[in-house]
Amino acid sequence: MKFYARGALVFIFFLLLVALLAPLIAPYGYDDQSVMTAYNLPSWHHWFGTDALGRDLLSRLVYGCRVSISIALITAFSSVFIGMIYGTISGYAGGFIDLIMMRFVDILYTLPTLIVMILVMLVVGRDVRGIFVALTITGWLGTARLMRAQVKNWKHRPFVEAARALGLGHTRLIFRHIVPNCVAPIIVELSYQIPTNVLAEAFLSFLGIGVRPPTPSWGVLAEEGWRALQVYPHLTIFPGVLIFLTMLSFNVLGDRLRDKLDPFLRGR
């Protein structure tokens, strides 16, 4: 497990590096068209081949990494953040407020995620910002439930009661004594959110409602390649493999983090 987790971590760092240094790494611009080199198979000049408009697939994957990874990271962090705040308020307040807040979450849970995402994108706009809002809006529910359960678990522990007896205010109680103890499962949750969002972005773009062309994302590239699957399979295989490896890495890392951070699993 350790070995896999290290491999995953290396791969994730590699992706982050690629995303950060995209313009330095990519051999061509993501929108440099050259009709003469359309549908080239992988070669020395174009390591991953070219697409219908003669654009270098490697460059598009590199820039696509930037789009996909940043969407995944930003939405994961923001939805976890929202979920944490919501869950903390709900769990700490308890009683009627908790009831109302959790029923609201239950209601949102019943809505089909894809339809909500599409609706949100119709309102916000069909671009990176739209995807960001759509994924955040649908992504925080799980964290909220998790956080509420954690807060409820910790808030009646003797040390918290003792702090309260000493006259500490709510803010201090929450931020000094409760939240720090809830962070471990949230970090694990975050590591699962990221690959989910990578896939969600790819899925939305594959359906043609993701980022606008010519901006590449892995989903867009998979969508463009899919139609030529029988004739030019490399156009689908490269983005597909990248999406697969990214999801795998984050999941392996998440498992490892859970094992490390969960006191009940620690030492296994």
Binding site: D31, Q33, V35, M36, A38, Y39, A52, L53, R126, F206, L207, G208, I209, R212, P213, P214, W226, R227, A228, L229, Q230, V231, Y232
Partner: protein, 549 residues
């Protein structure tokens, strides 16, 4: 004057429309494709009494008065016929009318119907049924988008606009059951093609009145073509079967008894189904597969009178300046587009009237000239920084073309172009309600005459989404339509093309398309005319290839 695949309006309350969204079909399509790639089972060539044809969408309607699109046409053209039909060379051929005469002044057409014509329910078909149909087309309550198609008949336009309320004053008469006399307000050079178009097909008023909107459903619809509608599972399949009351008994003898239309939205899936022998005929092939598919013996390519263009909404602030439009037009590299999409599918064309029609002039239109475009652009005071370019999702080709043009506009003029794709039905609605600055459309000929392409852009044409209106242009089109000498007509159309393409740049023609089909080897007699029509009644199974059932 039909638009590309899909439907122009929401003619039928299609409860199933949402069920078959492009996304769902894509998911299903990819699943299907994977199935076929991984586990192709060996099968026979298919049922020996049915030919199976792929439709890209559920037809919006089978009501020939209301239909405007070529998916509906695929069904209608096989269950019904009109006075005349179009031959393989596009010429007018006898159908329900066995003969016709045109008066020397070109204003009176007399059609003589065949004796013993019958509807599919066995009732006799008379000239009055044509009059009933044309009354329905022109009746303002019907809201037929194609009403203008027969406006050249005396009084027709007034009746449609409500200024004439007595239909007996409209110039169409039936002195007896087999004679139909049509009086035109002026001679029209191409009018002989009009009676072969679906809006002019006869209709059973009693059936329409009895069933209302539901009259086109199987079991209710009454038609008089070689086939009759039997099954319509919306968004799934349509079955038509031999009509024993059809007038052409010789055709009836050898006809394939059943035609099944299968609705398969994704072109790549349709090709996979074809290769799996589940579909016999596929149209609209995926561009990326054309080079490999064209090597197959089943591949059939035929000339097509269909143009593809980028239109400007000339009322839009960003492109209202003709110089902006000119610079944009000059920055489009058609040769590159042909390379991107494939030379087998399209032929670059800067002029609008396609070859080999009258008035075809390959030199009309605006050439690719980036240097000149930059100069013009530099001289524009209030130039736009961002443009919206819209296209529909009916084919992957539209995205490729849009991305290529986006790239050229950016590199030549430095303008940022935002691409937006929409689903076909929504897209057509957007164009007719609030057209974006730049958008794409295609246009297929309804008859082999330049008029079908040119009257698209007259003021008030329902399909002119450019909002461009020019009296000189309209005048030339009207005069050219009435002209009798081909040379004179050609000159007028050419002048009109110069106005719209070069002086005003209301739209930019990009290329003409080729019609491509995959046709199973077990079928023979497959031929397509330049309008893209073919008739199932002419198809036969090759006996030696039919497997034993």
């Amino acid at each position: 004057m039909f638009l590309e695949t899909g439907c122009a309006t929401n003619l039928i309350p299609s409860s199933g429309a949402d069920r078959n969204s492009p996304m769902k079909s894509k998911i299903l399509g990819s699943a299907l494709l994977l199935c076929f790639l991984s586990a192709c089972t060996k099968k026979g060539d298919g049922p020996t009494d049915t030919v199976r044809f792929r439709l890209p969408n559920d037809p919006p309607t089978a009501d020939w008065t209301l239909a405007t699109d070529n998916v509906s046409k695929e069904v209608m053209a096989n269950i019904h016929e009109g006075l005349l039909t179009q031959g393989y060379d596009g010429s007018a051929q006898p159908s329900m009318a066995e003969s016709w005469t045109i008066s020397p002044d070109g204003k009176t057409y007399t059609f003589k119907l065949r004796a013993g014509l019958e509807w599919s329910d066995g009732k006799p078909l008379t000239a009055q049924h044509f009059i009933d149909s044309w009354e329905r087309v022109l009746n303002p309550k019907t809201a037929c988008e194609y009403a203008y198609f027969i406006f050249d008949i005396v009084g027709a336009e007034d009746y449609q606009k409500g200024t004439l309320t007595d239909f007996s004053k409209v110039g169409v008469k039936a002195p007896d059951a087999t004679t139909l006399i049509v009086q035109l307000r002026k001679p029209v050079a191409y009018w002989i093609y009009v009676p072969s178009f679906w809006v002019t097909f006869p209709i059973r008023k009693d059936i329409v009145e009895k069933y209302g909107d539901k009259w086109t459903e199987p079991g209710k619809i009454v038609s008089a073509g070689p086939y009759v509608l039997k099954v319509w599972d919306h968004d799934s399949k349509i079955v038509i079967e031999k009509n024993d009351h059809y007038y052409d008994k010789k055709a009836l003898d050898g006809m394939i008894p059943k035609v099944e239309y299968r609705i398969v939205k994704d072109a790549a899936t349709a090709v996979a189904l074809f290769q799996n022998k589940t579909i016999d005929i596929v149209r609209d092939l995926p561009p990326v597969q054309v080079p490999s598919l064209s090597k197959l013996p089943e591949f059939v390519s035929s000339p097509y009178l269909r143009g593809y263009y980028y239109g400007f909404n000339v009322k839009d602030d960003r492109v209202k300046d003709v110089n902006v439009r000119r610079a944009l037009a000059m920055s489009i590299n058609r040769d590159e587009i042909v390379k991107v999409v494939g030379a087998a599918l399209i032929t670059a064309s800067k002029s609008w009237i396609p070859a080999p029609l009258l008035a075809f002039n390959k030199d009309r239109g605006i050439d690719f000239n980036p240097e000149q475009a930059k100069k013009i652009w530099a001289g524009i005071k209030d130039k736009p920084k961002v443009l919206e370019l819209w296209y529909d999702q009916t084919s992957e080709m539209h995205k490729l073309v849009a991305e290529n043009i986006q790239n050229h506009w950016k590199s030549t003029l430095g303008i940022d172009v935002q691409l937006t794709a929409q689903e076909w039905k929504v897209y057509l609605k957007t164009l007719s309600t609030k057209a974006p600055s730049v958008w794409r459309l295609g246009w297929g000929a309804d008859y082999p005459d330049p008029d079908t392409f040119m009257n698209l852009f007259v003021c008030g044409s329902g399909n002119n989404h450019t909002n461009w209106c020019n009296k000189d242009y309209d005048h030339l089109i009207s005069e050219a339509a009435a002209g009798t000498s081909p040379a004179d007509r050609a000159k007028k159309y050419d002048q009109a093309q110069k106005i719209v393409l070069e002086d005003e740049v209301a739209f930019v023609p990009l290329f003409t398309q080729t019609n491509m089909h995959l046709v199973s080897q077990r079928i023979m007699g497959f031929r397509v005319n330049p309008m893209g029509d073919f008739y199932f009644k002419n198809l036969r199974f090759r006996n030696d290839l039919v497997p034993a059932r």
